[in-house]
Amino acid sequence: MNTPHVQATILIILIPLMSSYAIPLLGWRWRGSAFFVALAAIGASTVCSFILLYTVLTQGTIHYHLGGWLPPWGIEYVIDPLNGFMGVAVCVISFLVTLSSKESVQKELPDKKVRFYTIYLLLFTGLMGIVVTGDVFNLYVFLEIASLTAYALIAIGEDGAPLASFNYIIMGTIGACFYLLGVGYLYIVTGSLNIADLAKLLPPLYHSKVVLIALAFFLIGTAIKMGLFPLHVWLPDAYTYAPSSVSTFIAPLMTKVMAYILIRVMFSVFQPSYSLEVVPLGVIMSWLAAAAILVGSIMALAQKDLKRMLAYSSVSQIGYIVLGVGLGNKMGLLGAYLHILNHAFMKACLFAVAMALMYRTGRRNIFQLGRIHRRMPFTIGALVIGALSMVGIPPTAGFFSKWYLILGSIDARNWFFVAVILISSLLNALYFFRVIENAYFEEKHGHLQEEAMTVVAGEREEVPLSMLIPIILLAAGILLLGLFNERIISGILVFALPPGF
């Protein structure tokens, strides 16, 4: 099976990887080429991801044997509909975010561009590697590549960034080491590291305690990396103090890819009937997720800094995804998948707006926005669409994923979760509409009016086009995803469900 379509499986990782160490060589001579090489590499990966998704949907699961060695002796890359879908989501958002990062990097980190784009491309390679691989240890390698580059990128921000990055290093390493321990326990009892092979070898061993402990280690490790409720402490600082283009890249993508790891481990390595029932894990996960939703929304209400508010909002949205996974029925899981895609678009749009605000005004305080819609109408329009989607107002995308989650909660006869989702939508409305109100109307407090931007009526000073077009495309994407969600679900996502749902 060596048609060129199948080689796209390795090209999707190889092209960004080789470009990431072509950038220092080229950047030694031509400084400005770093951005274009990065953009071209991510663009090539996006094309490959579309090819892969199309091939998977028409021809079935792709198995790619690295080095020609058959599994379980060799490493294997498996693309099934869930992978293909995640690959397309990660690639498209990375492309748009990278396009918008050019001016912001030029302004905030002017003399570090070459090294910045090197590490940036390595982060993208790590994330794509996690999505594509079919081997648990290979997943750990790519997980660590993505995490290390993220630590380095977060640390070059402004005040408080190195300490936030150090906290993230400590907690993230614990998470990754727990994942490695889980892999070790599974290797002891089965002797295999391939996901498909483990799925065949594990069911006779479900009575043993080693497999149970392996599942526990996997879940805790992934929960630390995802930022699930009690283990989310590193998330607000890391997202707030990172440079703007870094937050725009990491915030939509990293936690979603970790949620993908959770889904892979729970439903492909272990059977759903085991991982949700053996301890009442589904119940525990959904209650933790409900707590995450409420705590995230309540903490976001108390913030004055736009990026910190969005970071706490991310904590709450991860709660939605884990709620969908923990419910354990078809509607809930479809809602979780759809929410991964929707939330990635929504958060990318919102963080890109925050990046644009930082670029133009140099500040992130919500209460100092003051009538900024006169200066940046398109940007604030995108903010409005993103905010409406986070609240869950049709026809934007957020409404449909919450709809499926509510349907899943009703299927599971759990009215408390329905109430939690509705209350958190209300809280989202509270803090997002506060931002919109400050952006459209003038601040009432006298002493803040001198600090707010003084605006000449009709003057327009938008961000440069290379930042504006991705913002508009992301906002349009939110609307399109909402309108076409039925096609996405019936065309792609129902094939991504594990058997038995």
């Binding site: 630590y151 640390a155 190195p162 150090f166 400590i170 490695l180």
Partner: protein, 120 residues
């Protein structure tokens, strides 16, 4: 009971090492001590993997003369996996040290409570 304690002593060693590293990461206030704790934590996991590959009467996994029987050699796969884990550990230490340098340059101190006091 003694089968638990003595027969599986490699697991006890790795658990004790891991908890020492974990305590250093959580309980100490100096950032460099936290980093050393992280290193001990990762080393404990590396030890654990190596210890699961050992066979009774097995020798180094270098192919000797004569017929090859798998029972004669210890399992080389955990060693290969742990090469990767050692590289990851070294890289994490490198990144963490660079971040510590940034912290030192900005706050002139490496104690966590002093840094937090100077941020507030």
């Amino acid at each position: 009971m003694s089968e638990y304690l003595i027969g599986k002593y490699n697991y006890w060693i790795y658990v004790v090492l891991m908890m020492i590293g974990f305590y250093a990461m959580m309980g100490k206030r100096n950032l460099v001590k936290k980093l050393i704790g992280m290193n001990i934590f990762q080393t404990a996991i590396i030890l654990y993997y190596i210890s699961i590959g050992v066979k009774k009467g097995g020798t180094l996994p270098v192919a000797m003369e004569g017929t090859l029987r798998a029972a004669d050699y210890i399992n080389p796969l955990p060693h290969v996996l742990m090469l990767t884990a050692i590289v990851v550990s070294v890289s994490t230490t490198g990144v963490a040290l660079a971040v510590l340098l940034l912290i030192w340059r900005r706050y002139k101190s490496l104690e966590e409570d002093e840094i937090l006091k100077s941020i507030r």
